[in-house]
């Protein structure tokens, strides 16, 4: 038998007193009610104190507030602290102001609606059960996958904050794809030196374990209790138990080699970058000959990635200014959506770099050992100027297609993360924002999310460190059990729930203790598996509850029993 205490919010201007009286009269006729009083100031600390005293004096075990939106009461609890000795899950709000008074045209109808809302809330409250807060200890240990600049930066920052970091790199050396770059577009220092300095720091800091030429083989467990099996190339395996995991595995590229693109006078942006860093003479040489005309052909691939545009303008300007070349940059759109890029674009044009914006792909052909590029410029004003412009080039620079690193898909299934539509890890998601993944305790940063400029990756790296620190700095993860739970006796191990869970919080335990099955006629009992929800990883969304064919799953804070009671179907 529940003992319910009811407070009617009598804030001035909220619910009229005549309406409150009628509701109070209705409440008196309901079962399990200990008292029903009006309270004028539920938002003050004094009001909350009076409320707490009253509850204790009357030995009430459930509280219902009749008033406005539950959010406003939550706010006052947050502000003044939760004052009640009752468990927060034994507290319910009947929102008659918004759902009845404001929603209905006349008072009569509003009162009817209010009565229904109140009855439902009280029925629901009488079935509710307390849910206790739990805590999960978190060791300061993090696993970082990928030794590119994002991974390096994250590792260093975390290690300096006192966290033990294991940095896993599949290749021999650290640095990743950024080591292809000569200079940053927006900073004076050389990329190579910058990386070398960071790598030497990694070797010096004691609480970093660097494992190269190794990869993740298997991952079990959840936040705080991950179990990662690492396999080195020589076949040795080791087991790590990090509290959190950061994925920064980077991207791969694919070069177009069909037809004329396979010609030796066609090179890629990274190859040009390398050529520039090796050039010391005042002229650019290719194949022993002086290069005079260079054409950049962009947007054939990765139309929506601005890195190519930034690199092409940066290289083009250098070639035009210092190496006596004439540069033409052909693209669909000039992508300048990065700080300082419009100025660089302007400078490039002032120095004589030509820009053409095409819609039809330019045609390439061989003319006397040079490559002729025919392009229709859509930015030309007069119709007569729209004929194809022909550019005889010594060198063609094309962009490489950015593709997900080859192991991304496999990694995705190992880590149970979501794959974006283009095969990169995770998509932009307003619920998770950047760097968080669909699983608690796993973060994604850098170009494995989406190819981007170095400076942007570094900002993501810092954001990840912030997220990891926020998670680990307290040493424990606090959560309450407002999550789903599987009844192992009812579970038929159909694997519906682990497939559907968006946060991969459900695993199937092979030999669950309580689920015993005796095949008919054998007389022997065998242990059957059962699904298990990890309470720290569960977000309490209820998808598994709705989908379980055996109805073996319940949400602690929203039980079937409670919903039936609300609908008047109890028993």
């Amino acid at each position: 038998m529940a003992r319910i205490g009811i407070f009617i919010d009598a804030l001035k201007g909220s619910i009229p007193s005549s309406f409150r009286e009628k509701m109070a009269a209705h409440v008196q006729g309901l079962p399990d009610i200990v008292f029903c009083i009006e309270e004028e100031n539920l938002f003050s600390s004094g009001g909350l104190e009076r409320m707490a005293k009253r509850l204790e004096a009357e030995e009430v075990d459930r509280v219902v507030i009749i008033g406005g939106s539950p959010k406003i009461y939550e706010t006052s609890f947050h502000k003044w602290g939760y004052p009640l000795s009752l468990n927060p899950y034994l507290f319910a709000v009947a929102n008659v102001r918004e759902q009845a008074l404001w929603a209905m045209v006349d008072e009569e109808a509003a009162l009817e609606r209010a009565k229904i809302t109140i009855t439902k809330t009280i029925c629901m409250a009488s079935t509710s059960k307390p849910i206790e807060a739990q805590s999960l200890p978190l060791k300061p240990e993090v696993l970082v996958l990928g030794g590119g600049i994002t991974g390096i930066s994250i590792t260093l920052a975390l290690a300096k904050s006192g966290i033990h970091v294991t940095l896993l790199e599949k290749g021999k050396s650290l640095g990743g794809r950024a080591s292809e770059l000569r200079r940053f577009y927006n900073r004076p220092e050389e990329v190579k030196k910058w990386i070398e300095q960071k790598v030497s720091e990694i070797h010096q800091i004691p609480n970093i374990t660097l494992i190269t030429q190794a990869e993740l083989k298997r991952l079990d467990g959840h936040l705080g209790r991950f179990q990662a099996k690492i396999q080195r190339q020589d076949g040795t395996e080791s087991l790590l138990t990090p509290s959190a995991i950061v994925v920064a595995t980077g991207y791969a590229t694919q070069r177009e080699t069909k037809g004329i693109f396979g010609h030796k006078r066609v090179i890629t942006l990274p190859e040009m970058e390398k050529l520039l860093s090796e050039t010391t003479s005042p002229n650019l040489l290719w194949d022993g000959k002086k290069v005079e005309m260079v054409t950049f052909l962009l947007d054939g691939v990765n139309e929506d990635i601005k890195v190519d545009s930034i690199n092409a303008i940066k290289q083009g300007l250098l070639l035009q200014e210092n190496l006596n070349c004439q540069i033409a940059i052909l693209c669909k759109d000039v992508k300048v959506a990065a700080d300082g890029m419009e100025r660089l674009y302007r400078k490039a044009r002032e120095k004589g770099v030509l820009f053409f914006k095409y819609e039809e792909p330019p045609r390439l052909s061989m003319v006397n050992g040079q490559i002729q590029v025919d392009v229709k410029d859509t930015a030309a004003i007069q119709k007569t100027e729209q004929w194809p412009v022909s550019i005889l080039s010594d060198l063609i620079v094309i962009s490489e297609a950015f593709i997900p690193a080859p192991e991304t898909e496999h990694l995705c299934s190992l880590l149970k993360l979501h794959l974006g539509s283009r095969g990169f890890l995770m998509e932009d998601n307003p619920q998770l924002l950047r760097v968080r993944s669909n699983r608690r305790g796993i973060f994604v940063a850098g170009a494995c999310r989406f190819p981007q400029e170095v400076s942007e990756s570094l900002i993501e790296a810092r954001a990840v460190v912030q997220e990891v620190m926020a998670l680990l700095s307290k040493g424990t993860y606090l959560y309450d059990l407002a999550v789903a739970e599987v009844d192992p006796k009812k579970c038929a191990v159909c694997y519906t729930c682990p497939r559907l869970c968006p946060h991969s919080a459900i695993t199937v335990e092979k030999y669950a203790e309580r689920n015993i099955y005796a095949p008919p006629g054998t007389g022997s009992e065998m242990k059957w598996g059962a699904a298990k929800v990890d309470p720290a990883a569960c977000y309490g969304c209820g998808i598994c509850v709705a989908e379980c064919p055996a109805r073996a799953i319940t949400l602690h804070h929203l039980t079937d029993e409670g919903i039936y009671a609300q609908m008047g179907l109890s028993g």
Binding site: E342, R343, R462, A463, Q466
Partner: protein, 343 residues
Amino acid sequence: MAEKDVLIIGGGISGITVALELAQVGIPTTLVEREPSIGGLSASFCCKASESCNKCFACVVDKRISEVRNRPEISILTQTEPIGVKGNSEEYTVSLKRGKERFDRKASAVVIAAGINPFDASQKVEYGYGRFKNVITAKDLDEMLRYQGRLSRPSDGQLPKNVTFFQCVGSRDESIGNLYCSQVCCAYALRLIKAIRYQYPEVKATFLYMDIQPAGTSFQEFLTSCREDKGIRLIRSLPSKVYHSSLSDTLRVRFIDPQKGEVVEEPFDLIVLSVGMVLKKEAKSLTQIFGLSLTEDGFIASPPSHTGVFVTGACTGPKDIDRSILHAKSATFLVHQYLKGRN
């Protein structure tokens, strides 16, 4: 409330994020906002979903505002602005003004997230903003959709059948002194178009642009869906002038049609100017108070972190909601590191 908090100036999405993230690591903050309510510019944005979410991130702001109000570690001072600062990186004492009241706050570090203003479109005289009723900014349109819940033409309240968007108003434009790309307006305007086309399929939209700037992981699919939509015309051409006729509310727009290769004039019911971002007017006094310098583009340059003054959000350069939150998180890390290094 602790005597010495981290003082965050600016209660927009960046300031809110810094406050929330610092609360996560147990550092109390005071959020100072000029306006009567927190949320800043991004709080006035409407949801721009069509058949599905178009990832405008407007909903994130609402959620974070209610979250920040509920954190005991965060105290919020609205209608308050800083008027001076004393002390050094050891400890700052910031003088604040709230109406006529003046008081001091000690701060262990100061985070400036002053935010931006939309570009004042009346500076582009040829587009007639402020003179013609049916020329509005994208922000006006956004607020109309959020607060009135419907699309209407300001002159007569009717549904405009033919809407055009002018891109790069106040961005990438040396004539008004803004030689930078505002980075967000392409995706912003296209999302608005998508949302309008979804709600009012009879409304035709024209998008007049210079270059389309990508934004985010699924932008290419989004752009393709815009290109495939028969009701949306994407034309690479910025208009030169808007003409008004005294006989009707319809405006005429002069631009070069690249298909025809000649100058055309077309009538439109409603003209929306995609205004770029400029540093918030009031932020200029902040830079003087804290001795900060401006970048070439007129945004606030980040000071070295040992000063204990940090700058984040769109006041350091144009950013959308998503990137503002990312930058705020990254700035929080720097603040946290700075405070730890001192103790």
